[in-house]
């Protein structure tokens, strides 16, 4: 065989290889088996175990377009605090199904890494990816998440705008009692930061209304606002806030501290101010 023949043979193989790698035609049987492996890797096996990871890898080998399996491979890295391993894997899921996973990546950038700008970029991208549809990663509208991301950036105008949009749409479609109650809390905080105390108090009262009167956060922020103008009510509020906190009625979640999370120490400091000033 001449060098030219070898060269042609090599080129043909290279083309075929690339075709096999990237343009694999997946049979219905492989898709079905891939889905079964994904379900096993995600639900039956211990998340992050060798067996689970290998099972998910096999699911992807059978069907390279099994975007759920691609995404599932990233979850263990996220939950174990390994950002440099999480990111490239999750990016593959975004590449595989951007409509579903790009807004979700925004939620993760926001909640697990407090990267507000990257989060907003992903939420904004969802407007183009799914026009006339409001995505809801982790069960909340991208407008809700953008309100929170802009709050993290201390861009209170945009934060208020997005929380207003979210609350208005939810109220119109489902009723105010179906609005995620922390939207009122965070909109109240944004109003507080812009010294719009009247609006802030209204939102904190909404939090208390829909939480049946229990919310350490709402009472704490109300006490902050009222401490000079109505110290007697403010003192009662902070004492009640501490009771609520100790009973577990405060804004928190597993895995990671939430934005603007309050702690008992915050409440005790404010209570101490009342003692010192002898209200």
């Amino acid at each position: 065989m001449s060098l030219k023949s070898y060269h042609n043979y090599f080129c043909l193989l290279a083309i075929l290889s690339c075709y096999n790698c990237n343009e694999k035609t997946v049979s219905e049987e492989d898709k079905k088996n891939s889905e079964a492996l994904y379900v096993k890797g995600e639900q039956t096996l211990l998340q992050g175990s060798i067996e689970s990871m290998q099972t998910l890898e096999k699911a992807i080998t059978l069907d390279p377009n099994n975007c759920d399996a691609i995404r599932e491979l990233s979850v263990a890295f996220l939950k174990r605090g390994m950002p440099h391993k999480w990111k490239p894997q999750f990016d593959k899921a975004v590449e595989c199904n951007p409509k579903l996973w790009q807004p979700f990546r925004g939620y993760l950038h926001l909640s697990f890494y407090r990267d507000y700008r990257k989060a907003i970029a992903d939420f904004d991208a969802s407007d183009t990816l799914t026009p006339n549809f409001i995505d809801a990663p982790q069960g909340q509208s991208v407008d809700y998440w953008r309100g929170m991301a802009y709050l993290g950036l201390k861009d209170y105008k945009n934060s208020l705008d997005y929380f207003n949009t979210y609350i208005t749409i939810e109220t119109k479609e489902w009723g105010e009692d179906m609005v995620e109650v922390t939207a009122f809390l965070y909109r109240g905080i944004a109003s507080l930061e812009t010294q719009n105390y009247e609006m802030a108090l209204k939102d904190f009262d909404k939090v208390l209304l829909y939480n049946r009167g229990y919310s350490a956060d709402a009472k704490y922020y109300k006490a902050l606002i009222l401490k000079d103008s109505n110290p007697i009510e403010a003192k009662q509020l902070i004492e009640s806030s501490i009771v609520d906190f100790n009973n577990g009625y405060y804004n928190q979640r597993d895995y990671v501290e939430i934005l603007r999370q309050i702690y008992l120490e915050d409440l005790e400091i404010l209570k101490h101010e009342f003692k010192e000033k002898l209200y």
């Binding site: 070898y6 890898e57 080998t61 605090g81 390994m82 895995y255 702690y263």
Partner: protein, 173 residues
């Protein structure tokens, strides 16, 4: 002569192309340990550090309980960092990621250090900055020791410091 010399190169490239696609074989060997495992031989502060329960960590490497690992609440840890960390004209942007074990006596060891840029990719940060944050994080009184069935247990924990111009903007989880 020229053709003969080129043959091994062609066959090598063909082999790489053909077997490079065989992802299932790669999957079998890709994961040697569960995700999150910290190898004491490659991590820092492993010498003289011992886990009390043969490496059986309370909750494994799962981190749903992470916010409870800070002693006296995370706000105390955050204030400790902000009060004692000094930005000595550092210019770093990105993240410092520490992963470590806390043994049943509350000692910190087996520290894996990942220095990341703003895109969460590995990079090199100012080493003095890194050492400051490691030293402040490793203090024994930062961390809770959990009990399970009457016995003190070992725990896994991680930290992410978000850095901008050498300042600590956020601490997670």
């Amino acid at each position: 002569m020229k053709a003969k010399r080129s043959l091994p190169i062609y066959f090598f490239l063909i082999t790489v192309l053909v077997f490079g696609c065989n992802k299932s074989e790669k999957a079998e060997t890709k994961y040697q340990e569960r995700i999150g495992y910290i190898n004491p031989e490659t991590s820092r502060y492993s010498e003289n550090f011992k886990l009390c329960n043969d490496g059986n960590l309370f909750g494994g490497y799962y981190s749903s309980y992470a916010p409870q690992v800070y002693k006296n609440d995370k706000i105390v840890f955050s204030k400790h960092i902000q009060k004692n960390y000094k930005n000595k004209n550092y210019t770093d942007n990105g993240f410092l990621n520490l992963r470590f074990h806390i043994n049943c006596e509350g000692q910190v060891g087996n520290v894996e250090v990942n220095e990341l840029d703003e895109n969460l990719e590995l990079t090199s940060l100012n080493q003095e900055l890194v050492q400051q944050l490691i030293d402040l994080s490793m203090a024994k009184n930062n961390w809770n020791v959990f009990e399970f069935e009457g016995h003190k247990v070992d725990t896994y924990m991680y930290l992410i410091f978000k850095l901008e111009s050498g300042n600590v903007l956020e601490i997670l989880p």
